[in-house]
């Protein structure tokens, strides 16, 4: 049973941003590995480990493969040659570059996904609504998160409906195109019509708010959390600068 974290959503976001930028700036393989390990531990503790593993693997495996192809297999570096065959050149430097770049992406992906898993969607929307952001942002986020499963369902229903009509059984390119049309057209028609029907009632309910707006839902916050947020944001901006400044002279 996944535990929920009782932190303000922005605190989680700010912490993630600070961790990702500073780790990226440092560019040390052991630091990246440590950050990923900590993320995995937090995920395990809160019960999100499986989803985190599945989601990040789906992104990271192709990325690593692609980086190995680009940097590992056709390296342009002169030294540290390991093997060469025709156009392929495998060098130590190339493999190292692929690993470093892969770890850089991995930190972003794992920390980012963990952040998503830890934040409650409804709390995030409420936090955005209560912040000075335009009132449209909260609605758009919430509506999209709601619509995704809804439209995926609709997509399945349409598939069934077309199967009932024995439509979309063609083969080859025209059959493929026909199937796309049979799936896409009713989905787009129905959802655009639905969006159109809703919009007038949404504006009748005063959306988007012209002046200040309030929320019935409360988002727990504390002075400590506010301080943590400011410090994190500061770190996200100043940290990389401080870490990287010594290199600029040498470049």
């Amino acid at each position: 049973m996944p535990k929920s974290i009782n932190l303000h959503p922005f605190t989680v976001l700010a912490l993630t941003a600070a961790v990702v930028t500073m780790t990226t700036a440092a560019g040390l393989w052991w630091l990246s590995c440590a950050v990923i390990t900590v993320c995995v531990l937090v995920a395990g503790w809160t019960g999100h480990l499986r989803r985190l593993a599945v989601l990040s693997a789906a992104i990271l495996i192709p990325t690593f493969a692609s980086l190995l192809l680009i940097h590992g297999l056709v390296s342009q570096q002169a030294s540290g040659l390991i093997a060469v065959a025709g156009p392929f050149r495998v060098t130590e430097g190339g493999l190292e570059a692929a690993t470093v770049l892969g770890l850089r992406t991995a930190v972003l992906v794992v920390a980012g996904l963990l952040c998503t898993l830890l934040i409650s969607k409804h709390q995030l929307v409420a936090a955005i609504d209560l912040s000075p952001a335009p009132p449209q942002v909260g609605y758009l986020l919430a509506a999209t998160l709601f619509l995704l499963p809804h439209m995926a369902d609709k997509q399945r229903t349409i598939g069934q409906a077309q199967a009932l009509r024995q439509a979309g059984t063609g083969r080859g390119l025209s059959g493929w195109f026909q199937r796309v049309r049979l799936r896409a057209v009713p989905l787009v028609l129905a959802s655009l019509q639905d969006a159109h029907d809703r919009s007038s009632h949404l504006s009748a309910r005063g959306f988007p708010a012209a002046g200040s707006h309030t929320r019935l839902r409360t988002v727990a916050d504390s002075v400590t959390q506010q301080r943590v947020r400011w410090i994190s944001l500061l770190c996200a901006v100043v940290g990389p600068t401080a870490i990287l400044a010594p290199f600029w002279g040498s470049a």
Partner: protein, 473 residues
């Protein structure tokens, strides 16, 4: 001019005075409304009766200031509301503040779910969506929720997820969300359509309570029956024109004669046979139903009855071959065709004619049946219309046409009466009769008891779904 003299509550004041010379949608060739004059007195009940496609919903949106859309629709007329006068002069209309208007006139759309924002986790949050946009302080919102919930009896719904409400509950929540802004007039578009007896009672009860609180109601409906005896002003709307009607001739006018069950046909071939069938939705843990025994013979019309979630749709889908039984035997010995509950999912072509003839070989026998099927369902006039521009009732018939053109021997209908008006119902009845006469069979599910009694030979009562037991883990 004043309609409600007999009603003592109304006094002399008029809340809203609407005169529409004509209204035409952008790009349309005909006026949707003509010569409309309505005035609404405080606390009164006005019922406007009209068939599907008569312009009811259009009129409702004009009431709510949603139509005409600036720079698109053509409208001539004047509206007096809350001491302000709005002039519509053709295309050049003033920019309407729909939200400000909604504080005087609230509209409950035909599809009540469209009124809900669909982005809140709990019903309580949904109720105050419009107050949140106004910036009402949180404490005041809590007070308004408590007060409204006591007045309307909503306590049991406040903590529910708005996305998981039944049709009736959805309408209750939408009504309450309208009421929380305390509009002086509420316009209700088909507030009772498609509800079973229990939900109808609940919605009617809420409307009564709101009226007791002094809200004037304008009901747009296919039938005046549920409002008999309470109406202050009754009008009929036909082809976009409004006329007065006395309450007697509408209430007594019924499309169908008193009905009786038909005789069961003599022993005939079994077209569809379920033997001890268990059905499980893909991905679900518990079976939807178990141990189903059911035989449908040629010439027979069988009804499926049971509460929501008892698996009626699932049985039909299994018969159509969309779902394989996980246990037991299912024998389908004739071609089947199924009309889905939400049949708009099936439509994708640009015209009705193309839609109905889709996928049929150019010179086949079925293709030559297309005109016949269209005329059987009264759709000839719409052959070149986009299915989405048709009224809901006619669109349902288009979906039925796409099924019929393939001449299925067994017809499977999921809630076929939903969205159908009386003309559509008559067509549906004819279709069922013609299938039975041809030696086919019909298996249908419906919550419309009258239709069930009139149409079916016998009814299979779905066994109650076992209460979902608490998960073990």
């Amino acid at each position: 001019m004043i309609e409600n003299q007999k009603n003592s509550r109304t006094g002399n004041t008029v809340l809203l005075d609407l005169k529409i010379e004509r209204f035409r949608y952008s790009g349309a060739e005909l006026d949707s409304l003509q010569h409309i004059e309505v005035n609404v007195a405080p606390g009164s009940l006005t019922v406007i009766v009209g068939e599907s496609g008569s312009g009811k919903s259009t009129l409702g949106e004009v009431f709510a200031g949603i139509l005409p859309r600036q720079g698109a629709d053509q409208c001539l007329g004047t509206i007096n509301l809350a001491g302000q006068r709005i002039e519509y002069t053709g295309l050049e209309c003033q920019r309407i503040n729909v939200a400000g208007w909604a504080k005087h006139v609230g509209l409950l759309p035909q599809e009540a779910g469209h009124y809900l924002s669909r982005i809140r986790e709990r019903v309580a949050e949904e109720l105050v969506f419009s107050l949140e946009n106004e910036g009402v302080p949180r404490d005041e919102m809590c007070q308004r929720i408590t007060a409204l919930s006591t007045q309307l009896g909503l306590d049991h719904l406040l903590e529910r997820d708005p996305a998981k409400l039944s049709g009736g509950q959805e309408r209750l929540v939408a009504l309450a969300s309208l009421a929380i802004s305390e509009p002086s007039i509420m316009v209700l578009d088909e507030p009772l359509a498609g509800l079973d007896a229990e939900a109808t009672a609940a919605v009617t009860e809420m409307i009564t309570r709101l009226r007791a609180g002094g809200t004037a109601m304008v009901v747009l409906s296919r039938t005046a029956k549920p409002w008999a005896g309470k109406v202050d002003a009754l009008r009929t709307l036909a082809n976009g024109q409004l006329s007065k009607a006395s309450s007697d001739d509408l209430v007594q006018h019924s499309v169908f004669e008193p009905t009786q069950r038909r005789a069961t046909p003599i022993e005939a071939n079994v077209l569809l046979e379920f033997g001890d069938v268990q059905l499980v939705h893909p991905g679900a843990e518990r079976p939807v139903l178990d141990g189903l025994d059911l035989q449908v013979r040629a010439g027979e019309c069988v009804g499926l009855a049971g509460a929501n979630g008892s698996g009626k749709t699932t049985v039909l889908k299994a018969a159509a071959g969309l779902l394989r039984p996980t246990a037991g035997s299912l024998a389908v010995s004739a071609t089947t065709g199924m009309l889905l509950q939400n049949s708009s999912d099936q439509l994708f072509e640009r015209t009705v004619l193309r839609e109905v003839s889709f996928g049929l070989p150019k010179k086949g026998a079925q293709r030559s049946r297309v005109p016949e099927v269209l005329s059987q369902l009264g759709l000839e006039a719409f052959a070149e219309t986009h299915p989405y521009e048709l009224p809901a009732s006619v669109r349902r018939l288009v979906a039925l046409a796409t099924v019929l053109v393939r001449e299925p021997r067994t017809l499977l209908l999921d809630e076929p009466t939903e969205a159908l008006d009386s003309a559509g119902l008559a067509r549906l009845q004819e279709v069922i009769d013609s299938v039975l006469i041809r030696g086919g069979a019909v298996l249908l599910s419906t919550h419309d008891k009258e239709f069930m009694n009139r149409t079916t030979h016998w009814v299979h009562l779905m066994s109650e779904n076992p209460e979902p037991t608490a998960p073990d883990s």
